[in-house]
């Protein structure tokens, strides 16, 4: 099996929601189904985003962020943010 790194690829929002109940360090959770350029899908959290402006077809890029803190352990993982121009 070959690794297929996705971290530097852009993705497109396939569908999305704003979860007002889910526990999060950054509530409310803006979650989206993301389809990567060239294939591959990931369901994850958006960050640095205006929750009311998310739409299907939005272009996003991945960013490595703090995702949870459990028993003093800080856990980092990938979130997506709107594609920055330039």
């Amino acid at each position: 099996m070959e690794d297929e790194p996705l971290a530097d690829l852009e993705a497109t929002v396939a569908t999305f929601t704003l979860d007002r109940l889910a526990p999060s360090l950054n509530p409310p959770v803006v979650a989206a189904v993301l389809d990567f350029e060239g294939g591959g899908r990931y369901q994850g959290e958006l960050t640095d985003v205006d929750a009311d402006s998310v739409a299907i077809g939005d272009r996003v890029e991945m960013t490595f962020r703090l995702i949870s803190t459990v028993n003093g352990v800080r856990n980092y993982f990938w979130k997506a943010r709107p594609k920055r121009e330039g």
């Binding site: 396939a14 999305f16 929601t17 704003l18 979860d19 109940l21 959770v29 995702i67 949870s68």
Partner: protein
């Protein structure tokens, strides 16, 4: 290889269903005693005459002891099953097969769940520990993913979609108001539903089913023996259950406007039952309206509406109590409530009442159709299990 079904080989001859709701004064034991006592009385059977039991519960007990202890069973076989929100249907399905196989004469399927005592509004599940990176969305959030995808695909604007979802909740509350066993026995105005606090995406609190305690039970015997118990047995026409490959969250081909698991299980069930046009042939359908967008999509997956048209059919009242095909005439998960392990059997209980013309007059369906459908789903869009049954008031020709 093949799915052959057991059409007309077994029949339901008794049922019981507790009121669903907040039973602070009842334990799991109390709830299963209530539902099984009613089912036994309904069939005119003593508990000692039941040969084997199937108990469905997602989390309100483990093992057959959860049933054998409160019922003081005399060393009888009791299976305990779990299949997420389709747990009650799974108990029923396996009980039916046991009779059809000839292994037992008289069996009982029981479903129970006690959710309210947790103090948590929703389901408490304990998945195995992971690496802490999974985004744990709530159930309403996962099902809310259907709404933007459906809007985008079929050109439904945001306000139109809100009206459609609101009308589904309004219809199910209206039906539940006519049901003395329902958790929420009152109508709710569209204005209140539409303006209720948002939970996830477009879904407000009134777009979500009731978190509930309850139990339901069914007595099952061979069809040829059914008239020894009742003049009006309900025959099992079809039972279909599928678990999908659960690849929706990783497969860009999945578009969040359908449950393929439901399509497959309904097609299998219709083939078993000999149904060609479900919308025309069914007297009623009890479907898994866990959240309002689910019911919308189910109308298409179950073949009640063409793709992309269910939203218009909902607004036109096609699935109202007095519409072309009554969907969730008992109020559904929305207002009857959703005690997980009991829900599949609760759906059958409404078919039992309706097809025997024993529903309260104000919600009795009066057409001359003889078939009812139950649909029970567990999981989330793109990764779910689905059950469809067809039951009928008469043996087939």
């Amino acid at each position: 290889m093949g799915s052959h079904g057991i059409r007309d080989r077994v029949a339901i001859v008794g049922m019981g269903c507790t009121p669903f709701g907040e039973h602070w004064d009842k334990s799991v034991d109390d709830l299963v005693i209530d539902s099984t006592t009613e089912a036994l009385a309904s069939a005119g059977v003593a508990v000692d005459d039941v040969d084997a039991f199937w108990l469905g519960t997602m989390g309100s007990g483990v093992s057959g002891l959860t049933l054998s202890r409160p019922l003081h069973l005399d060393y009888k076989p009791v299976s305990r099953l779990e299949n997420m929100c389709a747990t009650g249907s799974e108990a029923f399905r396996n009980a039916c097969y046991a009779v059809a196989s000839g292994a037992y004469d008289t069996v009982m399927a029981v479903g129970v769940e006690k959710l309210k005592d947790s103090g948590f509004s929703g389901l408490t599940m304990s998945p195995p520990p992971g690496d802490g990176t999974a985004v744990e969305l709530t159930a309403p959030a996962m099902f809310s993913l259907l709404a933007p995808a459906y809007r985008e695909k079929y050109g439904v604007d945001e306000q139109e979609m809100k009206d459609v979802l609101t009308r589904i909740a309004w219809k199910n509350h209206k039906n539940g108001a006519l049901n003395p066993r329902a958790q929420f026995k009152r109508e709710v105005s569209k204005e209140v539903i539409c303006n209720s606090p948002l939970i996830a995406g477009q879904l407000g609190i009134f777009d979500c089913s009731g978190v509930s305690d309850g139990s339901a039970a069914a007595m099952i015997v061979r069809a040829e023996d059914a008239h020894e118990y009742t003049d009006k047995p309900i025959y099992v026409k079809a039972l279909s259950f599928v678990a999908g490959p659960a690849n929706g969250p990783i497969d860009p081909e999945y578009d969040y406007t359908s449950f393929e698991e439901v399509v497959r299980s309904s097609q299998d069930a219709y083939a078993q039952a000999g149904i060609e046009d479900p919308r025309a042939e069914l007297a009623l359908a009890e479907v898994h309206d866990c959240f309002t967008p689910t019911e919308l999509v189910l109308m298409e997956d179950l073949g009640f509406a063409e793709r992309g048209t269910a939203w218009k059919e909902v607004l036109a009242g096609t699935f109202d109590l007095d519409g072309e095909l009554a969907v969730n005439p008992d109020g559904g998960l929305k207002s009857f409530g959703h005690p997980i392990g009991a829900s599949g059997l609760r759906m059958l209980f409404e078919c039992w009442l309706q097809l025997r013309h024993e529903a309260p007059a104000e919600r009795q369906i009066t057409n001359d159709k003889k078939l009812g459908l139950t649909h029970n789903l567990g999981g989330a869009p793109g990764e779910c299990v689905s059950f469809v049954s067809v039951v009928g008031a008469e043996p087939s020709d």
